[in-house]
């Protein structure tokens, strides 16, 4: 029998992350280097307007900006190298960042947004010349209204949290319009809801009351009743929550809030498993929001730019961010800014148009039945992955006696940690050695040593098998070779770094200027 001239591949891939030891771009600066050689002013033009009159004096800088000076190839190599030092969604089985819905962002949508009829428009041009763009905005809003059951939608917010902020602003404006703005100063949320709910309410000046779950992991209706009063402005709640547990009594929650005169606002950051199955309006909600970069496939980028959508009932429509895109009877689209009760703009211009177009394109390619299929496959994938993960000794689900999970699960390594001392963070660092991203959960860790997996509809069975095999291997190492896990990552761009540096604001340098100020001489390359 003939044998292969090389050894067979091991069951897990022998990954090694690129490690370029790449300086930051400011350190690569060479004085005098240029990316583009700008031509001299044409003699005929120069003769007319003067040699150095390329810019009016009023907008000319007195000193040149302190930008790094590099030629094009150096810039290209620099950023390609940095991109190789990432575990990005385009080359890792990105199911480890639960709650973030890391689904595939179809590349064809990048082609669509580069159409010059879209790409070359300017937000300040006459709406009559941007009818196609406005039509897409309007149609996406109507589609999201259909998906959520709400009466009106705005896609102006530039991110998911911006949409939640807009919702909180509308809640405030609504109560103020009824003379109850001062009295209703409390917003209620739950500990497993999207943390942006508490954050946006707090930013808006509300007192925030957080409900803890009952012993089965469900939001606790009795706790809600204890928190409700005539000071309640609203309930901001996610469903399913970040545990993946769907609250089947959500309509009772909404009714209880309405009984005391509060508004109910549905955070739909976790909508991927309920698309086409449940609707915010059907549970009685007054407001809802979507993260278009989660459920509707626009890229997450690196913390943006994203896009969010707010949906409201007719009673709250006057408060929507403005101006809004309206369609007149003759089929033309225009921007209506004459809305006295509007909370005003929540982002520059009319939202992040490229992402609005991507989300629109995605919905159009999926169709109504396709959206429901997304939810069904996301839930199936989650169940499939769960069966794999729960076979790993030391891994279990938070609230194991509560079976039902939708599109994600918050698991726990409590048993493994008790037996080996290896924490969930350490498992994540070691997982990076196998080329996959892994996350624990938001703080505080209500479920001990947590990890949150959300496979979405985008990953194949083979990929889910591979991810589970990696996690199983790291768990095996935690028992048999804990030192390797404890000192991970070993095959990554950076080795284990000290956390204390991140905990000390005095040592932070979030800009080049701060870096030079805090660490004099550090920016000078020898």
């Amino acid at each position: 029998m003939t044998r292969l001239p090389v050894a067979p591949k091991p069951p897990l891939r022998r990954f090694h992350q690129a490690r370029w030891d790449e300086p930051i771009v400011f350190e690569l600066s060479t004085p005098g280097s240029r990316g583009i050689g700008v031509p001299e002013v044409d003699p005929a033009i120069g003769a007319t307007i003067g040699d150095d009159a390329t810019l009016p004096a009023a907008i000319r800088r007195e000193n040149p900006p302190a930008l790094p000076e590099l030629a094009q190839p150096q810039v290209l190599r620099h950023y390609v190298r940095l991109s190789q030092e990432n575990l990005g969604a385009d080359f890792n089985i990105d199911v480890g960042q639960g709650t973030c819905t890391m689904k595939y962002s179809p590349k064809v949508n990048e082609v669509v947004i580069r159409d010059p009829r879209l790409y070359d428009t300017h937000p300040c041009q006459d709406p009559a010349t941007a009818q196609g763009t406005l039509e897409i905005v309007h149609r996406l809003e109507r589609m999201l209204a259909e998906i959520s059951g709400m009466d009106a939608v705005s896609v102006q917010p530039a991110a998911g949290s911006a949409a939640i902020w807009a919702n909180v602003s509308m809640i405030r404006a609504y109560h103020a319009s009824r003379g109850e703005g001062e009295q209703r100063d409390e917003i209620i949320t739950t500990i497993f809801s999207h943390p942006s709910n508490a954050a946006c309410a707090k930013t808006a000046g509300y007192k925030v009351i957080t409900l803890h779950p009952d012993e089965h992991g469900y939001p606790d209706l009795a706790a809600l009743r204890a928190a409700l009063s005539d000071r309640t402005a609203a309930l901001l709640i996610t469903n399913p929550e970040d545990t993946g547990i769907y609250n089947p009594r959500i309509a009772e929650f909404v009714a209880a809030v309405h009984e005391v005169g509060g508004l109910a606002c549905y955070d739909q950051a976790n909508a991927n498993g309920i698309l086409g199955i449940t609707r915010a309006r059907d549970a009685g909600f007054d407001l809802c929001h979507f993260n278009l970069h989660k459920t509707f496939s626009t890229p997450h980028a690196c913390g943006g730019p994203a896009a969010g959508a707010c949906g409201v009932t007719e009673a709250l429509e006057p408060f929507l961010p403005g101006p809004v895109v309206v369609r007149d009877d003759d089929g033309t689209y225009r921007l209506d800014a004459d809305r006295p009760q509007s909370i005003g703009k929540v982002s520059p211009f009319y939202g992040v148009i490229p992402n609005i177009v991507r989300a629109y394109t995605w919905i159009m390619t999926m169709g109504a039945e396709g959206l429901r299929e997304v939810a069904e496959i996301a839930a199936l994938n989650n169940n499939y992955l769960a069966q794999k993960i729960l076979q790993i000794p030391g891994a279990s689900m938070g609230y194991p006696e509560t079976d039902a999970r939708i599109e994600q699960i918050r698991y726990t390594w409590q048993e493994l940690t008790e037996q080996t001392g290896i924490s969930t963070e350490q498992i994540g660092w070691r997982a990076a050695d196998f080329g996959v991203h892994y996350w624990s959960s938001h703080h505080p860790f209500v479920i001990p040593e947590p990890f949150t997996l959300e496979p979405t509809e985008s990953y194949s069975r083979g990929e889910l098998d591979e991810y589970a095999a990696i996690i199983a291997e790291v768990a095996r190492e935690a028992r048999e070779d804990p030192e390797t896990v404890r000192t991970a990552p070993h095959r990554s761009t950076v080795h284990l770094t000290g956390h204390e540096d991140f905990d000390d604001p005095a040592r932070w340098a979030v800009t080049w200027r701060a870096y030079l100020r805090k660490y004099p001489g550090a920016g000078v390359r020898s």
Binding site: V208, I209, T210, L211, H212, A223, A226
Partner: protein, 403 residues
Amino acid sequence: MTITVGLLVNPVAGLGGAAGLAGSDGADVQRRAAQRGGVSHAAERATVALDGLRSMLSAHDAVLVVAPGVMGETIAAATGLDAAVLDVPVSTPTSAADTTRCATAFAAAGVDLMLFAGGDGTAADVARGCGERIPVLGIPSGVKMYSGCFAVNPRAAADIARHFLAGRAAASAVPTTEMVEVIDLDEDALRDGQVRPRLTASLRIPVAPTVQSRKAPTAANVAEQAAAVAAAAADLLADGVPTALGPGGTTQAVADRLGVPGTLLGVDVVRGGNCDGSDSAGGGRLLAEGASEPELYDWATRGPLRIMVSVIGGQGFLFGRGNQQFSPRVLGAVGAANIVILAPEAKLAALGGRPLLVDTGDADTDALLSGYRRILTGPGQWAVYRVGERTDQHSTDQHQGAI
């Protein structure tokens, strides 16, 4: 096989609690505590535990072995239970050495389980005597109970003991035990305002979900959260209502913020800043330092008084651990509405969903404090969390419609 159960009571445990002395270790402190009207409840708590064991003892023909005199014998006699008495000399008044000597004798006798009533100091003395040779279980009766060897209350101690001994008697399932650390705080250092937890020994206890967990270590971010909670609490105090600050680091931080000296493990009555027009940071006044139970009752009955307490580490206790000055009559006079509970979110999360606990020794007071309560977790933020008995009364059938 015959089951034998030991009982050892430290008759002066908890003496310094209601007297506001941050503990009862040492003869001198015990004398001062007695002068200040301090009373030990170790005997009553041991009686409650024995009552809970009564049916089990007779069903299995088990033998109860008790320490001599006030360290067990008189308590067993009062309950009418037959008991063998250890043949060990005990001094009058009793001392730490007596506890150690009795524990050694219980180990030599090879009892299946020894129950002891006391606090952290008693646990350390027990460990000195019997080490890990026999399973033991603490009936919580002391001022400080940071060690992991205590049941959450005397009835729970009986439940755990019953379950454990029944397993032994049946010999079908091997009853499991686990090692826990005995932790004691240096009481002299505490009176000087320093928390110096010492890991003094380890004990073997029956495994049960209701045993108090060792007080969780405080992480750096928890300390930051505690500072935020303290800031929020200090703001509440600006209304000028006299407030009794319970023991612990969080309430100490409130006192620090008000600029008043506080006793770390004692109860101080303070008035907030700002009420006399001064700045909100600082400007507070210390009205009573290290207040005893009678003093607090006096405050509570003379005018409005607020109580501000924090959650004790991984245990989740609000009342009945380290703050026995807040007796049922004091809590009754203050009223549930005037009790403010402080806790950083991380501390609540670390409870793993278990409710916060109250164990004042009076069922009506415990019921008054139970239910869903607001917990101040920082400036402008609260959690709604369950306070209650360790047994969950929450309905379990309400979620059967889950998909």
